[in-house]
Amino acid sequence: MSKTTKQKTSIPAGAATGRPRSGTGGKDLLDALPWIAPVLALIVGVVFFPAGVMFYNSTRDISQSGIDKGPVGFDNYLEVFNFAYFWPIFGRTIVWVLAVVVLTVLLSLALAQLLNKAFPGRQLVRLAVIVPWAASVVMTTMVIYYGLEPYFGIINKFLVDVGLIDTPEGFGWTRNADTAFAWSIVIAVFVSLPFTTYTILAGLQGVPGDAIEAAKMDGASPSRTYFSIVLPQLRGAISVAVLINIINVFNSLPILKVMTGSIPGYDADTIMTMIFKYIQNQHKLDVASALSVVAFVIVIVIVAIYVKVVKPMKEV
């Protein structure tokens, strides 16, 4: 609590680099309090309070019907780590995040570059890119899920009709762990594209035209111009997009839940779907809380490493 207050109050000081400081810290804090109090309340309410409850639940024994039976220390954590499939699930989570984020960023870079060119109908194409964002993720996923359904899925039917699949009932894409997971990655990339593309597009608009012109004058090839002039300027945009995507993709449940939900065993699970299985199937709120805390710590570690290494806020 007190740490947050300190961080928050240092905003004006940090932002006002170059101007003389007033020096009376205590009075500053008091003056600032009415302004920052709503934000503080919000942070406490939506971050620290649920996190606290989550941590508290993870150290309790909660019965199947949801009754708190008293403290058990770290037994729930032991159950999480002793679960035979924990490490494969952990590894799959990392693969999931890496694959989705890397593919998303690469595709978005190309797409943003295209949308940044002036061509007839550009507005329409830009609109088309943003439309998937307006649809709910579950809806998008369901459409593809049913498309992949054996017997009546339209994607399967198409693949059968063009002769890529020779069984008349189609292939069980969503019935096998590997293919269901691969399709999930495709969907996750698809739904992450709009945000990422627009973030990068915003970055592209900020690349000064005269810098590119100067490069041209110097006889730089288009690819040289891109890698030496444009890309470095995009650093801010890309690193913010990557950061948000990492958090978002790590915590993404609906796509995998829909796509891999009917597959038995734990061969297509990530940490998030495992939390869901603990809650929904096994009614272990306590163990689910423990795994949530673990997930929370993993995200914080990833973000901390990322911030330390990439320094996304560093000015170019």
Binding site: T4, Q7, G66, D68, E169, I263, K308
Partner: protein
């Protein structure tokens, strides 16, 4: 200083995003259950799952009739899908907002936590004695009934006559005959499967019961759960045989029951185990389907069906509504209200008076005939809920080539862990 701030901000963002999912488990501790009791009126909260498109309307009719007869009692209805039901009730219970009346499957966990009225506390002696004895046994923990058997269903084999005729196969009575007939039907090609085997997470425990019990096994009783036994292994091994010899549809391990039944209704599956409501589903979806309802084949041809009873249960909460709940149950289980309800949903009644009235019903006959041989899940065992979850999560691995004994052992382990 500046750097700390930024790292801090990033971490806060990460935290915020993570919370979105994680806090789903938090049920909200504020508020007491059903607090709008203004004046003398009592409000009963009723939480039910949806059996079909009719369910909500049926309950609304019951409530309207009940409120007319008892103007001082209001009933608040909440309908949830079966998928969500378990998590909704858990969330409500942990948030001290348990409904007064709940329609669900397993009740032993709630009884173990002392949250429920016993059945005799909330129905009149006349209503209580009208329930069929086997169903009351199935609703009892240590001799005390906690659930009111609401509806029953039994299972039977639905057979597509046309497909079997085309393949020159006969309706099977034993496993070996089933394997043979199913392979013949599968050999028709064109995406047609001989036997529809839904081992996906939706209801794997039911298909498991059909096979493991059909081979002489059992899931245990009120005291102990026995999944990992040599008797059960017989059925599990035969499931694998069905799959490897191509008698079933592709990817049996991850196919859910409802979508597979749709494919049976479309006439692309030779045989599949179905429920009483399947009759109505066929009448609606493909009335031209030429089918027979036959007994479930077992290893030696002896009779077997998997009986399932869903229960109504009454939560004690603050203990002030016992009288109102009793009035509601007595009203609901009176034959004039109850029988049309069960009939519309297409299930079997659990009361003696109801069974008498429905005796002449043609489409229910194969199932009523099967009921004497019905075996039930050990749902009065407090570990059943965990066992059920383990079956749903793991049993389908059998069809994915995993070692049968290993799968059973894993289910047993999860069940024992509770």
């Amino acid at each position: 200083m500046k750097k700390t701030l930024r790292v801090g901000a990033m971490v806060a963002t990460a935290a915020l995003a993570t919370m979105t999912l994680a806090s789903c488990g938090f049920g909200g501790g504020a508020g007491e259950g059903g607090g709008d009791a203004s004046g003398s009126a009592v409000t009963l909260n009723l939480l039910v799952p949806s059996y079909s498109d009719n369910t909500q309307g049926l309950w609304e009719d019951v409530i309207a009739g009940f409120e007319d007869a008892n103007p001082d009692i209001k009933v608040k209805l909440e309908v949830q899908s079966w998928d969500n039901l378990d998590s909704v009730i858990t969330t409500k219970v942990s948030g001290n907002q348990a409904p007064d009346i709940y329609n669900g499957g397993p009740f032993a966990g709630f009884a173990a936590d002392d949250l429920l009225y016993t059945t005799e506390e909330v129905v009149s002696p006349e209503t209580f004695s009208d329930f069929q004895d086997t169903f009351i046994d199935n609703a009892s923990v240590d001799g005390t009934a906690y659930g009111l058997p609401l509806i029953a269903s039994a299972r039977a084999l639905f057979v597509n006559n046309d497909l079997l005729e085309q393949a020159g196969a006969k309706i099977p009575a034993t496993w070996d005959e089933l394997l043979e007939s199913a392979k013949k039907v599968s050999a028709l090609g064109n995406g047609i499967a001989g036997y529809g085997m839904p081992l996906g997470s939706e209801e794997a425990q039911a298909e498991a019961a059909v096979w493991l019990w059909g081979g002489g096994g059992t899931f245990g009783d009120a005291k102990t759960i026995t999944v990992d036994t040599p008797e059960n292994l017989v059925g599990a091994a035969f499931i694998q045989k069905m799959v490897t010899e191509g008698a079933t549809q592709a990817d049996a391990g991850s196919t859910d029951r409802s979508p597979l039944m749709d494919i049976f209704v479309q006439g692309k599956i030779g045989m599949q185990v179905g429920l009483p409501p399947t009759v109505g589903q066929i009448a609606k979806g493909n009335p031209d389907l030429n089918y027979t309802i036959a007994p479930i084949p077992t290893q030696d041809g002896s009779a077997l069906t998997v009986g399932v009873a869903d229960h109504l249960m009454a939560f004690k909460n603050d203990g002030t509504k016992q009288e109102a709940i009793t009035k509601f149950f007595d009203y609901y289980f009176s034959p004039e209200v109850y029988v049309p309800w069960v009939q519309t949903e297409g299930f079997l009644p659990t009361t003696k008076s109801g069974a008498e009235q429905l005796n002449g019903e043609e489409s229910l006959k194969p199932f009523l005939d099967a009921l004497p041989a019905a075996e039930f899940y050990p749902s009065t065992n407090a570990k059943w809920s965990a066992t059920d979850a383990a079956f749903k999560a793991l049993f389908g691995q059998l069809a994915q080539g995993k070692d049968a004994a290993g799968v059973l052992a894993e289910i047993q382990a999860q069940s024992d862990a509770g």
